[in-house]
């Protein structure tokens, strides 16, 4: 990486952090080895600048368009730009024998700086501990009847779960050959509203205090909605500047939007009005160890995985997916003696 090509202060800062990590002695990506059962991962990105950084740091790597054939046994793919990415199906076909770990940078913004930030946190996260914490939360849900209570900032959000609950999370650290997954499966235990029937495996009531917000847009969202996303992104900046921390009242798994004040209308439309304020997601971040490294100026998926709870509006395809995040807090099943805490400052 030519230093002259790195123009922003944020990128220079992230590169400095990464170079310090690389100079520290231990293999730079030793924390990822359990995911690949000891195999050295090969790094790919559709962002040529990011691919150059991989190379400078001594990581086996290539620009996605120049990927080796056949594909290596262990792959980490940073997907930064929906417009540049090839179709999933033929890409997956080429990688069908690999252990594949996706870093979906594009869904959260996709800038070079965000890619560097994600690389730094990827290299410093403890995926074994995360997976263990995921199991702890699943065990709590599987072995107790509920309802459950999340407590933070002196407020409580109570939720119950249906008899059959689909939950997205990793319970095993290691990927098998041919198996693919993405960052969020490790960093959170997530439940989502089903589309298009809008059924939710949870029923939530109470109050939730969001200290932070993030947004995501999935690849399937149509370009015709670009203007809507632009307006929503501007509104989110206003939320950050004026409304956080935001005390949210939830009734029958829907947000009482009055907390959004004059921004109600824009969020109603940007998160898909037909969802009528339903919570599209209820999730618990389990990447507890990154608390001191999180930089909230980035719109990064790593940030929602910080230990704590987050709830969301919108599905990211038909409109924005907005995460409202409460770091820390405590999750418990009252009366059962089972408690899972989030020990972060």
């Amino acid at each position: 990486m030519s230093r002259s090509t790195v123009t922003t202060q944020a990128a220079q800062g992230e590169l400095r952090h990464l170079r310090e990590l690389a100079a520290a002695g231990a293999p730079l990506d030793s924390g990822l080895r359990p995911i690949f059962e000891g195999h050295q991962p090969f790094y790919l990105s559709d962002d040529p600048q990011l691919a150059e950084v991989f190379s400078e740091l001594g990581l086996p790597s290539a620009f996605l368009g120049d990927a080796p054939d056949p594909m290596p046994e262990a792959l980490v793919v940073f997907a930064s730009d929906f417009l540049e990415l090839p179709s999933y199906a033929p890409t997956l076909a080429k990688m069908r024998h690999s252990r594949l770990f996706w870093m979906p940078i594009a869904a959260f913004g996709g800038s070079f700086e965000e890619g560097l930030y994600a690389l730094r946190l990827l290299l410093t996260s403890d995926f074994v501990k995360m997976t263990g914490r995921n199991r702890d939360i699943l065990s709590l849900f599987a072995s107790t009847s509920g309802p459950y209570v999340f407590t933070s900032h002196g407020h409580q959000l109570t939720f119950d779960l249906s008899e059959d609950v689909p939950i997205a999370t990793r319970t095993r650290v290691a990927l098998s050959p041919g198996e693919s997954t993405s960052l969020g499966f490790y960093t959170e235990v997530g439940m989502s509203m089903a589309v298009p029937d809008l059924s939710m495996p949870y029923t939530a009531n109470g109050e939730f205090v969001a200290e932070r917000v993030l947004f995501a847009r999935q690849r399937q969202s149509p370009p015709e909605l670009d203007w809507l996303f632009a307006r929503g992104e501007a509104a989110l900046e206003q939320v950050k500047a004026e409304l956080l921390p935001l005390t949210m009242t939830i009734k029958d798994s829907r947000l009482d939007p009055s907390c959004l004040r004059e921004l109600q209308e824009i969020f109603y439309w940007t998160t898909n009005a037909s969802y009528e304020w339903r919570l599209a997601e209820l999730a618990f971040g389990t990447n507890v160890g990154i608390a001191d490294s999180v930089d909230w100026s980035y719109n990064s998926q790593f940030n929602e995985g910080i230990g704590g709870m987050h709830i969301a509006l919108g599905d990211g395809r038909t409109g924005f997916h907005i995460d409202f995040i409460c770091p820390g807090g405590q999750l418990e099943a009252p009366g059962s003696g089972s408690i899972s805490g989030f020990e972060i400052a």
Partner: protein
């Protein structure tokens, strides 16, 4: 049993969503053997058959499935 949890952990080479049913007796059995220890992943990997169950949990009309289907 209080509930049945369908754990989505990722995707198969065909793009199917990888799902494993987590049921209490099975999980408690693992815990009693100590293999639910988060630092003992190897033992867990041995005891939970890999790529055990495949199931599309999204409706066929979901654009996610359409995009990933082969």
């Amino acid at each position: 049993m209080f509930r049945r949890i369908w754990v989505e952990e990722g995707m198969t080479p065909r793009g199917d969503i990888l799902v494993r049913a987590l049921q209490i007796p099975h999980y408690q059995d693992l815990e009693s053997k100590g293999s639910a220890d988060p630092n003992n992943n190897a033992a867990t990997s041995d005891e939970i058959p890999r790529l055990q169950r495949f199931r599309r949990v999204h409706p066929t009309s979901c654009p996610c499935v359409e995009e990933w289907a082969t």
